[in-house]
């Protein structure tokens, strides 16, 4: 009896011990992993502040010997980056507005109004996610060309106002969690669906709306393919196109290239750190419905 109790105690001790060592190992792995994940970003900052001589020295330095802040000024003077930024902002603002308004509108219809064929149509929405974008690329280009919309922002902005499958899905999932009693109560007070959507659902769905807004911002800000295809005039270039041109003009001038890249990535990094919970919530909504 006492021997059994002792082994039992030993067992717990060793299990506890095992758990502790296990956690320590996990912690060490995570810290090393984090350093590896963050090192490219530090490297980008460090390289952007070096001069070319230091970049080419071997072994490379992890902290710049001299901090050449003027690299950023030189980079900004090397191209019309202010113009590119304004162009990109213009497109991004409209894309975000379009995505938020259109997708929440459509998602409300799918989540809260009963109509014939709703499930079939929603299955169609989901099925479009499986169609590779490249199949429609050429014909879409042809349509925009025939409409005379090439070299304008219309092909980049307009589609945002007609909803996209992923965002509709995400917002619908969120709307489904809002009780129907709310709609019934509002209807008794004489409200119609339009009013309920705008005045009740959008305010209630703020976290999901924020997720859609942030994903849309990132999508529009980072979009390279769209501008590459539709924009020819240099005065209409976005930051992504500008950076691509800049790359061609400053072959292996790594300090300027890194300074430019960092400035383009900075808004995305900033938004991520301030609003990271919305990314995570958005993912939870997606995963929760599949698990």
């Amino acid at each position: 009896m006492s021997a059994a109790a002792q082994t039992k105690e030993n067992y717990f001790k060793s299990a506890n011990f095992k758990k502790k060592t296990g956690q320590t190992i996990v912690l060490i792995v995570l810290i090393l992993g984090s350093l590896l994940i963050l090192s490219p970003i530090w490297w980008m900052i460090a390289t952007s502040l070096k001069d070319m001589k230091e970049i080419m020295t071997y072994p490379p330095t992890f902290i710049p010997k001299e901090w050449h802040w003027e690299n950023y000024l030189i980079t900004l003077q090397k191209g019309p980056f202010l113009q590119y930024t304004l162009n990109t902002l213009f497109i991004t603002v409209f894309v975000v507005i379009g995505n938020v308004v259109a997708n929440s509108f459509i998602a409300y219809g799918f989540a809260k109004i009963h109509f014939k064929g709703r499930n079939v149509l929603f299955a169609c929405v989901l099925a479009t996610m499986m169609i590779p974008g490249f199949v429609t690329l050429v014909p879409q280009y042809v349509i925009y060309a025939k409409l005379g919309w090439l070299n304008t922002y219309l092909p980049l902005i307009l589609p945002a106002f007609f909803g996209s499958a992923f965002n509709i899905f995400l917002l619908r999932q969120f709307f489904l969690t809002i009780p129907n009693e709310l709609i019934e109560a509002a209807k008794i007070d004489g409200a119609n669906h339009l009013y309920i959507w705008w005045k009740i659902f959008i305010p209630l769905a703020k976290p999901a709306i924020a997720t859609v807004a942030i994903f849309s911002f990132n999508g529009a800000w980072n979009d390279f393919l769209g501008p590459l295809l539709y924009i020819n005039d240099e005065s209409l270039y976005t930051l992504q196109l500008g950076l691509q041109i800049f790359k061609g003009q400053n072959d292996t001038q790594w300090n300027f290239l890194m300074a430019g890249s960092l400035m383009v990535l900075l808004p995305v990094i900033t938004i991520f750190f301030f609003f990271q919970r919305y990314f995570i919530e958005g993912m939870n909504l997606t995963a929760g419905s599949k698990g």
Binding site: L38, M56, I106, F115, C124, V138, I143, L228
Partner: protein, 320 residues
Amino acid sequence: MERIVINKPEITKKYKKQKASSSLQRKEGLQGYLFIAPWIIGFLFFMAGPLLFSLYGSFTNFNITSKMDFIGLDNFKKMFTNDPIIWLSLKNTLYFVVISVPLTTAGAVMLAVLLNQGIKGMRVFRTIFYLPAVLSGVGVYLLWMQLLSPSSGLVNTLLGFVGIDGPAWLTDPSWTKNALIFMKMWSVGGGMLLYLASLQGVSQSLYEAAEIDGATSFRKFFHITLPMITPVIFFDLVTSTIGAFQIFQEAYVMSESGDGGPANSLVFFNLHMWNKAFEVFDMGYAMAMSWVLFIIILVLTVFNLKIAPRWVHYEGEDRK
């Protein structure tokens, strides 16, 4: 108390019956269509229309300015007989898909398991590992061109510390695709978040029961965790395969404006299609190419769906 509970279903049933017969229902339905109208219009204009046009266009010699003659299967014949690059591009694309999809999926699962431990400060780690997933576009590609630069880059410097002579990632034809896969691994945190959410949905009682039976953590992972998250693995595999087949931007930016890199080692299917469509304006041929890729992806997706019941585990029987 009890009476209310019993009565409730009857009330709703009655209410529903009344509602179904009223004209209110029809008005409601109309409003439903009004709400989804933007999607329907968008679908017709940006999806269905272009798909139909592309389907017809793939049987023509369309070049956007002057020609659109029906030429039957000539475009498809040309792929088999007169375009060696397309086979190379298919080979390059398959290589990328076959290596990168399993690697990123396994990486994301492992990372999610690590980040699901109850350790203090886990939120900070999750943020750090997820960060690369939000970064994309030309800035990131330029960053990696510098990181992978053989003489001054970080990657070969770090490899040098452990005594490995790093390859010339982006100039050696046998390493260029691996360089892109390596870059993709950096943002494995994107998939991680999806798995993390589903890991947190696995019932704790399953683990407790296994612990009573004396299961090791190894067995718990393979017999509880992994089966329980197979639906998300399946979803991730299907979508990331579709995504990987369409690799384009990375190759376009990281080679000289889409020239396909050293020895055409970065000519992916879509890059070749892009060059056909927008460099030489052989748009009929490009549209035919896009359908070939679509069919490859479709066959693979259907195949995935068919074999899914053998390994994907759904809680409850009524799931599809």
